[in-house]
Subunit: 369 residues, 2 copies
DNA sequence: CCTAACGCTGACATCGTTGTCAATGGGGCA
DNA sequence: TGCCCCATTGACAACGATGTCAGCGTTAGG
C-alpha cells in the first residue's frame, strides 16, 4: 500500500545506471506491470525479480525486501502462462473437469472434491458441462487442451474416446469419472453400477415385489447399461421373467421421467415397484407418483441420492453413490500420474450403499385401477 | 486420422529445401507438436500455419488444405497462452467465477448460467469455492489474475474489496454476484434481499403470526444484513416490538441451523413462525422441526429455494431467487464491458418471488409445551 | 509494354517469463 | 598476501505464438 519512499516520483535508474523513461513506474498506472517494471523500480535485474517471486535461493535479504516492496507497490501479479512457456516442467497448474452439468448435485459434489484436492496443490480447475452431448464433450476437451491443462477429469458422452489417444500418448493424465472409457485405456473412478442396481432390485424383490419397472437414462451411456444389466440380472436370479418387466430408457431429465411414469401407470398391469437409475429420473418418478397419489403404495428405489430424500414422505430409499469420494479419488489419480506414477491404468470402483428410508420398503399392493 | 500419404514416413523438406531432422514429424511422437512441427510437415512457414489456424485471409486453398492435413495428422492444438502473449487484444478467453461453494444448488445454477453465456463466446470458466473465507477469496482472485482471466464474477466474503482497485483500474471487468461490493465500485447483480425478506415476513404476519424468529447467516455478510433488515423493518411496520423477536445469526450450514432451531424451542416463548434467510439454514430448520414434530404447526418461510421444496410435507414456502438470471446477467455485464461498455457501474437487482407451498401459510398455534 | 496493385508467403522481432552462464566481489584458508 | 570458493547478480536466449514488413509472382490497367 505505501509507495516506495525513495524511487517513487521520478523515473528510476536501472542497475546499469541509465534512465529508462519508457517504463512508467507509477503504481496508479493503467498498464499491467511486468517483471521488468518491478525490476526497474527495485533497481535490480529481471532475473533477480524472478528469483524473489519464485522463492529461489541466493538472493540477499535486502534485495528480497526491495523487490517485494516494488512488487507490492505495483500490485504485480506474475503471468503464469508466460512463465509456463519457458519453465522446464511445463505445468500450468490447471485442471480440466467435465461433468454432466455443473448444476446437478452429483456433479457439484464431485467438483467440490476435485477443487479441494486441487487447491491443496495450488491448481485451478476449469469446469464444464457435458449435457450428454458428444460434440460438446470434444469441444470442451479441446478448449482444455488449448489452455494446456495438466490433467483431465472427464465424464463422457461419446461412443468412444479414441480421440484422446494422442493426448494420452503425450503423457497427459486423464481420469474418467462416473463412466468407463471406451476405445482408450486410462484410469477411471466409477460407482459399482451393476452391483448397486442389483442391490436395489434385490431389495425390492425381498419386500415381495415381482412386477418391477426399470426407468433409466439413454441406453448408449455405458453407466446406464450397467445399471440396467444389474437390474435384469437380479430379476433373472430371482426367477422373474425379464421379458415382462417394463424397461423404459432414454430418460434424461425430470420431465421425461415424470411423463414416462405416468404412461406406465396408464398401461395394463402397472408395476408395484420401480427402480429408477439416475437422480433426475428418481425425482421425476416421485413427482408422477404424487400426482397419481400412488406414492404410498408403489415402492421406489433410486440409484444416486436425491437432495432432501430423507425428508420426503415416504423417505426415498436409494442406492447412494459417494460423489465426494469419486471426485477425491479422481483428483488423487491425476496428481499421482503427474508425480510420475507409471503403473497400469486402474479402474477404481467406489462401492454404493443402500439407504433405506421408506419408499423402498413398501409392500406390493394391487392397483385399485 | 489418416497420416499424410506423401510426407509422412521420412523427415520432410522445409520450404527452404533443407532437411530438418531435428523436428520429428511422426504423428506418434511423444512431444507436443508446435506450429513449427506443423509448418515443417506441411512444407510452409510458421506464419502461414498461424494464418490457417486462425482463419486469416490470403492463403491459397491448396495451402490451407496442406496445413490442415498436417495439423490433423499431428493432432496439433494451438497453445492459447503463447498466442495470447503476443496477441494484440491480450484476451485469454477465460473467466474466473467465485461462488459460495460449487456444490450449493444456488451456486450451481449461477455457474451453469455463466457457463452457457461463456460457451457461446468460446470462453472457458475457472470456478472456485469461497466457503465464506476472506483469505480463500483473495487466494482465488490472485490465482485467477495470475492466469490472466479476462473478467471476474465474484461472490465475496471479505469486509472490503479494495484490494481489487488496481485490477479494476487496469480495466478488468469485475461483476459481483449475490453480494454487493464494499470499498470499491463495480457492477453487481443481486437479489432484492431487503424487499424479499420483508415480503416473507409480511406473508407470515398476514397469516396471524406475531412471534417471529429470524435465523440467518453471519452478520458480517452484507446480504445477510439486508435480509435481517428487511425482516426487522417489516416487523416494525406491523407494530411488532422488534426487541422481542429472536434473531439468531452466524449460521452457515444445516447443522448449526438445526441446533439453533432446537435451542429456540427449548427456550421460553418459542416463535410460532420462522424466517430462515438462506437455503442451508432453511434445510436445518426443517430437520429440527421434524425432530420436534412441529413441522405442521410452526410456520416457515425460507429465503432462496430449496431442492424438492415442493415435495416436502408441508411444502416449503420460500422467497425464491433466480440464480440462473443472476448468472446470466453477470456474464452479460462482463462481456459488455469487454466489448467496450464504459458506462458507470451498474447495480442490477433481480426480483424475488414468493412461492407459497404450505409451510408459510400455517396459522399460529400456541406451543403445547 | 510498363507499372501499379494485389494475393500469397516467410523472415524476424516480440510478448513475459525462466534456464544458462558468466561476471563480480568478499571471505576463508594456506 | 594470494588464491579459491561461493554467494549474489544480470545479460541473454528461448518457450510458442502473432504483428509487421518486405519480397515474390501474377494480373489488370493505361
Amino acid at each position: 500500500m505505501t509507495p516506495l519512499s525513495d524511487a517513487e516520483p521520478t523515473p528510476v535508474e536501472t542497475a546499469a545506471g541509465r534512465t529508462d523513461e519508457s517504463l512508467p513506474v507509477d503504481a496508479r498506472s493503467r498498464a499491467r506491470p511486468t517483471m521488468r517494471h518491478v525490476a526497474t523500480l527495485a533497481g535490480v535485474g529481471v532475473k533477480t525479480v524472478s528469483r524473489v517471486i519464485n522463492g529461489e535461493p541466493n538472493v540477499s535479504a535486502a534485495t528480497i525486501e526491495r523487490v517485494m516492496r516494488a512488487a507490492r507497490s505495483l500490485d504485480y501479479e506474475p503471468d503464469l502462462h508466460a512463465g509456463n512457456l519457458r519453465r522446464a516442467d511445463g505445468r500450468t497448474r490447471t485442471l480440466g473437469l467435465l461433468v454432466g452439468s455443473v448444476d446437478n448435485p452429483f456433479a457439484g459434489a464431485v467438483h467440490r472434491a476435485v477443487e479441494d484436492a486441487a487447491l491443496a496443490r495450488g491448481v485451478a480447475v476449469f469446469a464444464s458441462s457435458l449435457d450428454d452431448d458428444p460434440e460438446r464433450e470434444q469441444a470442451a476437451v479441446s478448449a482444455f487442451l488449448r489452455r494446456r491443462v495438466d490433467g483431465l477429469i472427464l465424464t463422457t458422452a461419446s461412443e468412444d474416446q479414441a480421440y484422446l489417444a494422442p493426448e494420452l500418448r503425450r503423457g497427459t493424465p486423464v481420469v474418467f469419472v462416473d463412466r468407463q472409457p471406451a476405445g482408450v485405456t486410462s484410469d477411471s473412478v466409477v460407482s459399482d453400477n451393476t452391483a448397486g442396481a442389483a442391490l436395489a432390485t434385490r431389495h425390492l424383490i425381498s419386500h415381495g415385489h415381482r412386477r418391477l419397472a426399470y426407468l433409466g437414462d439413454r441406453h448408449d451411456i455405458r453407466t446406464a447399461q450397467e445399471r440396467r444389466r444389474g437390474f435384469l440380472d437380479e430379476l433373472g436370479r430371482a426367477g422373474i421373467a425379464t421379458g415382462d418387466a417394463p424397461v423404459v430408457e432414454g430418460l434424461h431429465d425430470e420431465e421425461t421421467a415424470r411423463l414416462a411414469t405416468l404412461a406406465l401407470f396408464d398401461a395394463d398391469e402397472p408395476p408395484t415397484a420401480i427402480f429408477s437409475a439416475q437422480n433426475l429420473v428418481t425425482i421425476g418418478v416421485i413427482r408422477a407418483l404424487r400426482e397419481l397419489d400412488r406414492h404410498l403404495d408403489v415402492a421406489l428405489v433410486g440409484f444416486d441420492d436425491v437432495p432432501l430424500g430423507d425428508l420426503l414422505v415416504p423417505g426415498v430409499t436409494v442406492v447412494a453413490q459417494d460423489p465426494h469420494a469419486i471426485g477425491r479419488l479422481a483428483a488423487e489419480r491425476v496428481f499421482a500420474r503427474l508425480d510420475g506414477d507409471e503403473s497400469p491404468a486402474e479402474r477404481i470402483i467406489v462401492p454404493t450403499r443402500l439407504v433405506e428410508r421408506g419408499s423402498g420398503e413398501l409392500p406390493p399392493r394391487v392397483s385399485a385401477r
